[in-house]
Amino acid sequence: MMLTSINNSFEQDTHDADANCDGPDLDFVYSDVDGYQNEIAELYSYTEFSEFQMNVKAFEDQMELYDLPPNWQKQDSASQRGIVMKLVDQLEVSDRSFRMQAARCILYLAQGCWAEVQSDEEQHQITRDNVLVLYQLGVFASFIDLLNMEIESACSPDIVAVKITNVTLVDSTDIRVILSVLYIITETIRDERERGSEDYRELADSFVQEINSPLPDGELLAVKLLGMITRFCSGAAPQFPMKKVVLLLWKVSLLGLGGMDVLKNLKNEYRLKVGLEPITEDTLEVTKCMRASSPPATATDILENQYPKRNFKRSLMKQRFLDEPEQIDMEMGGNDGQTNANNGSGNGGNGEEELSQYYRPYDDPSSSASTTSTANPNNQPSLTQPPAAVPPVQITARLPWTPKVRQKDIDQFLDISRNKFIGYSLIGDHESLAGLPQPIHEGFKTLQRHMYMSLADVQIKKEEDIARNPISTHEDEIKLTPAEVLYQAILPNLPQYMIALLKVLLAASPTSKSKTESINIMADVLPRKMPLTATQSTKLTVDIGRHKEIIVKAVSAIILLYLKHFKINHVYQFEFMSQHLVFANCIPLVLKFFNQTITEYVNTKNSIPLLDFPSCVIGEQPDLSGDSFVYGGEMSDKSYSWRNVFSCINLLRILNKLIKWKHSRVMMLVVFKSAPILKKTLKVRHAMMQLYVLKLLKMQTKYLGRQWRKSNMKTMSAIYAKVRHRLNDDWAFGNDLESRPWDFQAEECTLRACVDRFNLRRYPEATQKCGNNGTAAQNAENAQQSNMMAGNNGCGNNGDANGYGNNGGGANGGHNQQQQLNDYGVEGGFPSDEILTHSDFAFFGHSGWWDRKVELTDYFKANYAVWLEEEVYNSQTDWDAL
């Protein structure tokens, strides 16, 4: 029924679908990083502008000392190497100013000797030449030493005395020079490697090797940087320039672990190794061929906001929905003839037929499997056929994804059928169809054809086997992949690192209001003297906005990268990290991030191209006094901000990763009233971003209640058209609320037990260290505090969220939900801005019983045999009576 109605309304309105569009789709293409020039430009804040001159001054002074003309390009390569070697020597001198002069000089070289060139290209060319020399002569290692010294000196008590809010740019002058050099080297090598530059190949390989193995002091570079973030968050080192640290960490991790291509290849490699088919669908490729849906109509939005008051007008509303101008233009409903034909046939039949229409292309997956080839990585003939380069994308009349089904679902299907037809269940039997009627056989075959076994399933199974038969089960040797090395290195302090990353993310998100944060991420953008003129302060405002955006970009990219790599390396590594993210309130934090005018965020232009490096130092200098230069740059060719779309997609993907298949976490989405927030996010016209939002909506549709579904049919249709179908999954209409009670703590604890068992078995030493960091007593105490705090949190989205909290209908009583909210420690929506500190986990997990050590009294130890006798052996339990 529903389907026909969609189709009808749809049919009516296709003609004006395009007219209602807000604008064209964003031509944003998701990738690992932005262009090299942007990535480099983002390293510097505009307030650092004056320091560029210091670098060139350092270079000139140094050359004077060497009795050479201050011109790098006039030196032959031997002499250039000589200069670098002398500079490196100077880096080990104990006099700080002398040392930093050499460091600045090297920074100038890494920046491409911009004072000598006329164009950006020249500057880039010199940078890449110089980076080659710098790395070969050991500059990277020397700068790590310098970084160590800075970290060390940050601990000395006289520096800590500076008040956090008073820290400015000048407090981090030296460390910024060091981080900049490290970043430029890393980013340049990464970029050249990506391009496949011949002269960089060997160097890039050895560099990757270097960052994937511990430094001479035994620490991984990534861990050192994570340590810096943690220390910064603890308030011990407020002068650390967080933006540069997270940028460097991101690039080091990206280069060390590998980007999207590496991930895809690794995943298929691992799958093949355990005997699974390689993945044929690549989300990125598929979404490239998708068109963005139009945003939901404003009328609907208004309707939603008013909804609580209009509860009684249900029938009226329904009417209204049907009349409302329909704006969806999904692939299946595009304007080309093929689709119209399709619609026509759908119109003639009923919903069932419509369904089969969509499924038909996938009825024979063997054909798609047979075309699997490396030459055609996305292996979807139907999808790759439309030439992606020619907009608008040719629209196909089929669903973008092959439907999938899990073994679990098949088992459930069989179980139900057996119970129905033969009256008993065969536990553990996945196949026998004896006694079942023909249609069930067919259904079963279809399900089996679409069965998808994930790498995680195999890994979990393996863990179960090992747990059951610890001696006889053979575990393969653990390969020290970069991800494995990283995991082992961060395991002891993983909770702290996650909290620190989230704290920085929170401080940088645009919705964060708290001024009295324990951390001040603005330290590396604020100049000592506040601007006086209006222009200057406009500039500073833009700078601060840009600074925050870049931090969000880097942190979201880091978290996503780690999650993805851990996931394929071992699912329990992923679960460990994600559980700590969840405990540290990552889910509400991300939702809160999206609880802003997201279209505005995506379109924000917090940049002044004239002030970006290298434009700000090359060629004619812009007039720095007038107003014009601030706005002059707004004429950019792009209508959106690359980094903001990138961050949004990252955060959505993180959310998906954390929540997928976790019932209790899906309920968090419901409890935190994510639906209106997510719906607003759909307004961004980008297929990939919408896909991830739709996925999040799909997970919780069941729990949003009939009313929500009724008034959001367009969103529902978009989900239907864009998100992968799970056979047998009654996501849209199911109301299994009563049948599945959810207990956040129990579910998380079960998972935690598995993860702990895995960690204890594979990394006994590291796990012990990790466990000792928070004691049970502290946990309990903090739990109480958190509960108290949670009571008074403000909620940013009460206004537009009202429609959802209680519209679960009769299925989910208001009282019941309130109880659940309390379980999470929230009453009105989001918990307060607090990122829970490590010991606060208790609040989420039964006072941390898993790491509580049971203390047995001496009396008990001496007499336990008696206890055993009395309490266990002699107590009779009548099990049948239970």
Partner: protein
């Protein structure tokens, strides 16, 4: 020579070997050396024959991997530098030379620590030599003595740079010891040639005058 009587020559210093017989076994051509340590053995043999013939010692045999050649030489330098360190100990103590200096202009930090710090000259010497030994013997960077990764070869430059400061300190502050040692081993001479030849250090940083070649400039020219 006495040990060469048997049919097989054992190139070993047995317990009880007299000091005059130490390492006294006949030379063996490189091609016939049948061990993974051939290059080291070959270099040591050349040094033993005539330490002053720096040119010959540093002449790389044909078909030799350059990385390995540099690595083995640096190992040898560090081993022999211990001889200088032992002599320095008599005169250079944390109370006399509180800082690692060559000329008075610069004080160098000791890079052997997690965070580089100012160590007295003799400590710098010991730490640096220990650190160099650790690095050169580390399984991670130098797992093989037959072939060496390019990434590890770049580590040699920093070892050279740090080790060289021992020479310069000895030269400028303990000239007598330096001269005695140099007269016997020609070590600084050889080292200077080595780093110049393989471009491991900048010429201007080689501040100890060597009486041959163009490096005889006085120490003041450094910067």
């Amino acid at each position: 020579m006495k040990m060469a009587d048997g049919s097989t020559i054992l190139r070993r210093n047995r317990p009880g070997t007299k000091s005059k017989d130490f390492c006294r076994w006949p030379d063996e051509p490189l091609e016939e050396m049948d061990s993974t340590l051939a290059v080291q053995q070959y270099i040591q043999q050349l040094i033993k024959r005539d330490p002053s013939n720096v040119e010959l010692i540093l002449t790389m045999p044909e078909a030799q991997d350059e990385g390995v050649w540099k690595y083995e030489h640096l190992r040898q330098f560090c081993m022999e530098l211990n001889g200088l360190a032992v002599r320095l100990q008599k005169e250079c103590s944390p109370s006399t030379c509180t800082q690692m200096t060559a000329t008075d202009q610069w004080i160098f930090l000791c890079a052997a620590h997690k965070t580089p710090k100012e160590c007295p000259a003799i400590d710098y010497t010991r730490h640096t030599l220990d650190g160099a030994a650790c690095l050169l013997n580390s399984n991670k960077y130098f797992p093989s003595r037959v072939s060496i990764k390019e990434s590890s070869v770049t580590k040699l430059g920093s070892v050279c740079r740090r080790v060289y400061r021992i020479f310069s300190h000895a030269y400028f502050h303990h000239r007598r010891i330096f001269d005695e040692f140099e007269a016997e081993t020609y070590l600084c001479h050889r080292f200077t040639h080595f780093v110049t030849k393989y471009n491991l250090m900048s010429k201007e940083n080689l501040i100890v005058p060597i009486n041959v070649g163009e490096n005889a400039a006085p120490g003041e020219s450094e910067a």
